[in-house]
Subunit: 300 residues, 2 copies
Amino acid sequence: MNAFIGVDWGTTNLRAWRIDNDGTPQSMVEAPLGVSAIARDDFANVFARVVHEPLGADLPALLCGMVGSNIGWRQAPYIACPVALGALSRHVIHVGRTPAIAIVPGLSCRGLTQASDLMRGEETQILGWLAQDATRHAGQRLVCLPGTHSKWVIVRDGAVERFVTAMTGELFAILSTHSVLKTDVSTCDEEAFAEGLDAAGDGDALAIKLFSARARIVADGARPDTSSSYLSGLLIGSEIAAARRVLAVAVEEIALIGAPPLTALYALALGARGARVSELDGGEAVRRGLYALAREGALQ
Amino acid sequence: MNAFIGVDWGTTNLRAWRIDNDGTPQSMVEAPLGVSAIARDDFANVFARVVHEPLGADLPALLCGMVGSNIGWRQAPYIACPVALGALSRHVIHVGRTPAIAIVPGLSCRGLTQASDLMRGEETQILGWLAQDATRHAGQRLVCLPGTHSKWVIVRDGAVERFVTAMTGELFAILSTHSVLKTDVSTCDEEAFAEGLDAAGDGDALAIKLFSARARIVADGARPDTSSSYLSGLLIGSEIAAARRVLAVAVEEIALIGAPPLTALYALALGARGARVSELDGGEAVRRGLYALAREGALQ
């Protein structure tokens, strides 16, 4: 295969790399041009100007993320789990032919409630993590992708078997900005973070425990500038406890994929609960995943 | 005792009644002048102009709510549970003497986490509910005050024994306004509300279940205008399950105190779980409570 352009096009941001035929990223563009800011008719123009022109207008391109959603360029229907991730190359949706421009579909599965659960973009990151080490294709693995909507994913023999989404990052953002718990998000206070983790306990009764973030300041004399770290520990601790319980998976090694400052916090929290973790940068994961799909023929 | 002025002065709103010596409300003022909008030095002026002047400048006044907090007129320290509510009249803080102006303190108790739990204003409503029927002073009772920060309170022999706070109302408001779940809050769709209650299950894994409010629209074809009712059912159902479990109280009759549209929703949810409920308007409860405290000598 030849060089191509790999694009991670999310709700609020766009990142694109020119990727060499051996998988090496050559150049990159990044822009705050998420799909939520773009009218459906305008995707082709934005893509030509922001991605194709600087990175090579004659190159084929493979896109993943919310660009394939109902607010994106074109809808790439969700594929129902279990899904062998390598096979996703056969399910891409083409929005251009010369050169090829294709969108990777998201995944759906039976959710914890009657509703389904969904991912878009993370499937490509998980594939990138699998592609990084061939031994990961065998056996049962647990992958956590922390973020606005964190995903916890059971991967078995290279296929996504099941996953759940936790709205942890979004809860942290709106509670920190708009609620009675609002604080200046400051540097992490490790002691307050650990106190929040401890308060999370088994992840039960979150709406009740949230109020403790206020009470510890108002009534118990904790420093207001530790509030953000406490809230972060409480939310992350609750997510970890709840996700591991509802997935009922006895895997003690967890792969974290995401932004390094965030995976580091999750590693701290998981370490405190006795789990072994590895960390992979989310940008590297998506690049590796797009490359794996291109090698499987997604752009043909 | 003589007529007096009773005031419920919260974070965002002020309500005051001239209350006759037999407890009958005679006239009322209401203003969007919550304590969060008033500088500490300005409380006496605002009170004189907005409350005393229209309702009778020579009358003593008893105030409850956030007016006694660290952002209020003067701090009335929390009293630690268990607290016999009638005895609160001995713990009021005077901010004026001729005529008397006094503030009712809030309550604190050991929380679900290491942090304390807190209430301010609800103690007066609970006392009003007790005062409404003398038989309520005997035995163990469970009271729920739904709102921005819902309170679940165990009352034993007229004393508040323990309580927990759930941030349900605030979570609903910020999720509906600022998150990916944002919706036009519309009229209640009973079917979607029941579906949300059902999804709440035992109240576990709330951050994970929240995402189902989005997935049921995006993936499962539910009508977007039912989203608000589903979210409301999910949050209220989670609160009820978690609060009853953490309080570990085997009371099947629950007294609801609050705004009638909200207590009606909780009554629906509790009824679906087999509990017997009664409802009392929050405004009536606070008036009755202030009257009970005035009769106990709070303004002397």
